[in-house]
């Protein structure tokens, strides 16, 4: 995807979202009586959404005029998806199984997704580092760690 298309796409998405949010500010939940002559609770959001809309349209126009080099095609999509998937799995795992069970798996998965070649070093790092952080922060400093809802 070329830069001009990316700018147009981002501008269009942001303008659309700003429009939807602007329409939401007319919802009945915001139609309250003002106290002491106060400004409406949606006055400032509407101003901001208006600015976002105008700037997004400018981005669309800029994208239409601009013909610089490709940006989005230069990325490694497969590795981004793998890394993103690994982070999501880790977060879900931490929620259900807790930090101590899931974080070593998560560090290992993200390392593999990023393409770290030495599995032995990665394995040792993924086992040792979460444990060290847990000992230092949970045992000595009393920082709270996710215990896991299933455990």
């Amino acid at each position: 995807m070329q830069q001009k298309n990316a700018d147009m796409l981002y501008g269009a998405v942001l303008a659309g979202m700003a429009c939807a949010m602007f329409a939401h500010t007319f919802s009945p939940i915001y139609q309250n009586e003002f106290l002491f002559g106060d400004v409406s609770t949606v006055f400032f959001p509407r101003v901001l959404l208006g600015i976002i809309f105008v700037l997004s349209l400018m981005l669309v126009i800029k994208g239409k005029l601009n013909t610089s080099d490709a940006v989005l095609t230069q990325i490694n999509v497969k590795r981004v998806l793998l890394t993103g998937g690994a982070t999501l799995i880790t977060v879900i795992g931490v929620w259900y199984l807790g930090y101590l069970v899931m974080m070593p798996v998560g560090v290992f998965l993200i390392g593999i997704a990023l393409g770290y070649p030495n599995l032995v070093i990665l394995g040792v790092t993924s086992l040792v580092s979460p444990l060290v952080v847990w000992v230092v922060l949970a045992k000595f400093a009393q920082v709270s760690f996710a215990p896991g809802t299933l455990l």
Binding site: N76, Y99, G106, G111, Y116
Partner: protein, 499 residues
């Protein structure tokens, strides 16, 4: 403020604070030296450690990381030709050629001392300017505060990597995110879409971890080309004789001045300062042809100016509550956790704490000089750790930091969601720092606008009656005119007339 210096030193000389300073300096240099990490990620990773610390220890840890990570970037710039942080981008020009010809230890000596002088110079600027600015800002009412925040956000967006439109959009998106949750004046819940989680509003720590740390991991995944270990040239530490320093004193002082001045301007940052200083040093040099081939003056200009930014950037943060870059926004968020609210009232209400911050900055710079000098060999070896091994550890610390702040697992998903959003925005060169700065300034901006409108009976034009606000609005207007390209058009017309 002078009367608080003895008590500030007394608070500093406790085991926990000294240990935090030493560990922070050591970790900060390593974080700065490792390409792919940098000041912001270093501060984000240190956040969970500070939650249970007393304010003095927490501030000591964060300030030492902030100061030393800027210097750390020069180690990789000199030894492997890759700047560890964007602030050290100009250090590669002369640092690496010096290392290649076998003067790596000498280059590290120049970088360490140059960074130290820059740090101390900027601290003097901070001590002199920030209290006066805070005193002046005490006169500010809601109208002046509104004008100041609008000006600061526009400036931050203006200098956002040459993409002003995207910088402005980022800042406005950040402002909007701050509106989710209860309205500070009426208590009305806004933009929660019946979600219990959104009803409480978003908090800054998960947001900045998502935008800075997780988006960085995904960005590295997207752009990493290979995982080859960099070839490290000889490290060590060696000081040049006085005869080598003497002709370069003015270069160092000028670079310190440039760095401190640029640091005070919101959003400009160290990256701009180093290139301006480098260009200035080259222009004034009797032998500019040596620049880029291992000229110590080039390295000194870069290193003195990037560390001089550190104190300068803290001026608007401490005196006005306006963070100018990613580093100061994380610092401000971390200070807020410890009930230290940077802004105009910090100097009048907590002068003891302000003095403590100054003393800690001073000691951080001293420690950076010694640890940087004595640990040069260790830091050189650390450069062999590849980014692909570091990023999973960054994620681990992100999860720990996001969960520990409220013990709410939903914050983990906030981190991932905003990490993905931040990554998508960064792909199209939307800078992440204005989003977080906008988020931090969203509530005070809305509050000052609404209070100002109530004061003026809903007459926005009356905002221009305040001379301070008028000046700030005029400067903001000029910056916005530049956005529309009118500045270029006018200057072109003038040039045409002249010719």
């Amino acid at each position: 403020m002078i009367e608080f210096i003895p008590s500030a030193f007394a608070a500093t000389f406790s085991v926990s604070v000294l240990l935090a300073l030493a560990v922070g300096t050591f970790a900060g240099i390593i974080i700065g030296a490792l390409p792919g990490l940098g000041t912001v990620l270093g501060l984000v990773m240190a956040l969970p450690f500070t939650y249970v610390m007393d304010p003095a220890t927490a501030i000591a840890l964060l300030l030492s990381i902030y100061v030393s990570s800027i210097y750390g970037g020069s180690i990789s710039a000199i030894l492997i030709n890759v700047p560890g942080t964007p602030q050290s981008a100009a250090s590669v020009f002369d640092g690496y050629p010096m290392a290649q010809r076998g003067d790596g230890a000498l280059a590290l000596g120049y970088a360490t001392v140059g960074s130290f002088i820059g740090g101390i110079f900027s601290l003097i600027v901070l001590v002199l300017i920030a209290p006066q600015l805070a005193k002046f800002a005490l006169q500010f009412g809601p109208i002046e505060t509104f004008a100041l925040i609008v000006f600061a956000l526009t400036t931050i967006a203006w200098v956002s990597s040459g993409e002003m439109l995207k910088g402005l959009l980022s800042a406005t998106i950040g402002l909007f995110l701050a509106l989710i949750g209860p309205d500070a004046m009426t208590g009305q819940i806004r933009f929660n879409f019946d979600s219990l989680f959104l009803s409480a509003g978003l908090t800054v720590i998960p947001l900045l971890i998502g935008f800075f740390a997780v988006s960085e991991i995904l960005y590295q995944a997207a752009v990493l080309k290979d995982v080859k270990l960099p070839a490290v040239t000889s490290g060590g530490f060696k000081l040049a004789p006085w005869s080598e320093w003497k002709p370069r004193i003015m270069v160092i002082l000028r670079s310190c001045g440039i760095g401190s001045f640029i640091g005070v301007l919101p959003g400009t940052g160290a990256t701009a300062a180093v290139f301006v200083s480098y260009a200035d040093a080259k222009r004034r040099s009797p032998n500019p042809e040596d620049f880029g081939k291992g000229e110590p003056s080039g390295l000194l200009a870069s290193e003195a100016s990037n560390n001089a930014v550190s104190g300068g950037a803290m001026v608007p943060m401490m005196a006005l509550g306006i963070p100018g870059d990613g580093g100061t926004v994380v610092l401000m968020g971390a200070l807020t956790i410890h009930n230290v609210i940077p802004g105009v009232r910090l100097f009048s209400q907590q002068p003891d704490l302000v003095t403590l911050i100054f003393v800690l900055l001073f000691l951080s710079n001293i420690l950076m000089l010694f640890i940087g000098g004595f640990g040069a060999n260790i830091f050189s070896r650390m450069l062999r750790i590849p980014t692909t091994l570091l990023m999973p550890l960054v994620f681990m610390m992100s999860v720990v930091g996001a969960y520990a702040i409220r013990s709410n697992p939903v914050d983990l998903f906030v981190v991932v969601i905003f990490g993905v959003i931040g990554f998508l925005l960064r792909l199209n060169r939307f800078p992440p720092a204005p989003i977080i700065i906008g988020f931090v300034l969203g509530a005070p901006l809305e509050m000052s606008l609404r209070q100002g409108l109530i004061l003026t009976d809903m007459n926005f034009l009356a905002f221009f009656a305040s001379p301070i606000a008028l000046i700030l609005f005029c400067i903001t207007g000029l910056i916005i005119l530049n956005l529309f390209g009118l500045g270029n058009a006018i200057s072109k017309r003038f040039r045409k007339k002249e010719t």
